[in-house]
């Protein structure tokens, strides 16, 4: 073999692996979700408040393959590897977002948290229909944390315009305020049930 530097390369590989993970997470929907590392085992079982269980198996991990050609390496040196890291991160980000959407859709379908637009354009009423189906998040002071909306960029532009143009005293706006107020009361009632009973 020719002279090598495996000690240095090992450290660099660890750094690049971390960079891929960071780029993948920041480029995907998961960036807004807190993560928790599991150190052992081949599956995670989530047991919900209602006792239902969901098994998440680790036997289909996401992966991305990248390569660096010898000619790239000769021509660009370390930049070749750095570009490969970016490509891997972007590929993983896409795969992670896709997996997340599939998982969320599956979960929503299973509990019936689905609102069919039936081809209608985005509107605040449609948005309000969605809010009706879900538990809303509030902080300790009772301030509402709006849900994250995932949509196509074209639809996002139209949705943004719809939100901006809607008067605050319109029926749709009033409906949303009423929903939030009711959901806050439901939230408070749920939180008040954090008790130890007989």
């Amino acid at each position: 073999m020719l002279p090598d530097f495996p000690g240095i390369k090992r450290v660099l590989m660890e750094q690049m692996a971390h960079a891929i993970q960071t780029r993948a997470a920041s480029g995907s929907l998961l960036n807004s979700v807190k993560t928790h590392r599991l150190h052992e085992g081949d599956r995670n079982v989530v047991v919900r408040e209602d006792g239902s269980r969901q098994v998440i198996s680790f036997n289909s991990p996401l992966s991305a393959e990248v390569s660096v050609s010898m000619s790239e390496m000769r021509k660009d040196g370390p930049d070749a590897s750095i570009r490969a890291v970016r490509r891997a991160g972007d590929a993983l980000a896409e795969a992670m977002s896709k997996r997340m959407m599939e998982t969320i859709s599956e979960a929503a379908e299973s509990v019936g948290n689905v609102v069919a637009a039936d081809g209608k354009p985005f509107s605040l009423d449609l948005y309000a229909d969605g809010l009706e189906t879900m538990d809303l998040s509030f902080d300790a002071s009772g301030n509402w944390t709006p849900p994250t909306l995932l949509m196509h960029p074209d639809l996002a532009a139209r949705a943004h315009a719809a939100f901006e143009s809607e008067p605050s005293d319109s029926p749709a706006s009033q409906r949303i305020k009423a929903i939030i107020s009711r959901k806050l009361e439901e939230h408070r009632a749920r939180e008040a049930r954090r008790t130890l009973v007989d």
């Binding site: 150190h39 989530v46 919900r48």
Partner: protein
Amino acid sequence: MQEKLVEHWLTNVNELTYQVPFCEVLVAMGYDVIHVSTHGRGEHGKDIVARNPKGRLQTFQLKGGDITLSEWRSIRGEVEELVQLPVRVPGISESEPHTPFLVTNGEIRGDAIESIVRYRTRWSKDGSPRLRIISRRTLLRHFLNAQGSFMPTELVEFRRFVELFVADFTDRLPREKFAGLLEELVRSMHTNTPRRTQRALAGLSIVAGYIAEQYERASNHIGAAEAWTICACVLLGEVERQSLAAELYKPVLDLVGLALDRNLRALKQEMFAKPHFGEPKFGLADSFVYGARTSITFGWLAADAHRQWQLGNHLADNAKVIRVMKREAGGIMFAGEIDWPSMLLLATYLERVMDSREGEAVLERWVRLILGANQGGQEGLPSPYWTHERVIEWTHGMLPPRDAENFAGHTYTLLSALDMLVRRMRRQYVAHCWPEASRLQQCDFKPDELSAYFQWSVDKGEVTTTISPREASWSKWREGTARIDANQIPKALLRHPEWLAPYLMTYPHRANRTMSALADALFGRRAVELLNVKSVNSSPTMHSTSVTPATDLAKRGAAKRRRSKE
């Protein structure tokens, strides 16, 4: 290369620290070890009493280093006792003849040879048995033969062994690496007969001893204790996996237990003698680690007590231990959930030697710690998978950012602590904590195979993440904490509860809810129903056993002789 390593080790051991490895060599050779002196020189000069494979009684006195003429003169009296006095061990008749052996890891030098020969001849003429000598060359050959195929030969494993062999023995034992090595070695164990199995287990312990003994030599008592505990746990893992009969593994396990107990005794002796817990090496930096040292030490003190109680031994020094704990309690600092076993064992220890309030105070403190670490957007408490070393390194910026982990909102040990308070009828306190506690996700890991409980890291197993119901029922909780399913606990651990406390201290990430419940049942002496107990091949006791290793060894030897006569 292997021979050089073992020879180097043998050259540097002292008579106390090679005692247990030498016993393991005897077991590997087919001996039945009947008695091992655990406190200094054995009675009548006999450190070890054993029967050879033919059933003949042999006695051993161990020495460290070369025996020169002046050394011989100073030890001659003890050797004379070895030769001339009968064996005085329960179960053995004083009239039974024995063959005495003087064993040294050094050489007999100069005029000592002639003097020993003369005295040996005189003693023989007087009717005493003839003294045999085992010096370094023979001893080395015995060790090399006994370790068998257990010295790692594959390059990766051999490198790992060498790294462990030349580590800084004043530092913390790299437990994951050491456990990984022994687990790999035991996987290569090919045994198709009981005799080979016993020999293999003894061989594994000998190789483990090459590392463990060096921590003991460095007076790193907890490092040595952890090493011997890991050795025991790897053995117990095989016991569980293969459902091994006690007669195959217990001689080896008992010897490992002797080594563990010796180190824990030494820990206490050092602790009583010191006015503080400081360590002078790199003294200015000691404040960064003092708190973790205190937590670990408290845990092992409690573990030792629980182990001795499980063995049926009485402890006379609890008052001294409590005095030291009171002096040092202010310096305790918790690294993370890795400290849960320390707190569990400490709580049940204080309950027993002081009163229940003291024990409950420890549990309450633990609950407050976890809840506090998760309030107001804080980072949470590091999981039990983060060792003390890692937490200290992380806290002081010694780890790269990529090693960061998010602990907020999750806990592995809160429910175990609350379970203990529920068993103690602390309803008001639990009710007060519940609103905050129910906001955390409770994590619990169980391996698929019970034998995997004794592995450091497990691929096949289930992490359960529970989102607690907002409303909890006190009566259902009481009912749930009053039962343990024996099918979820390794039978080897139920059969050997004296290993539970050291196991939890050494493998803190194994202190899941079930194991914590078992510990509370055994050490907290809480009334707990053990379900599916018929599947356990021994009496399902939740209370202390009444057999000490030495007594057990003597009784077992007597039983074996009776059977061979029959």
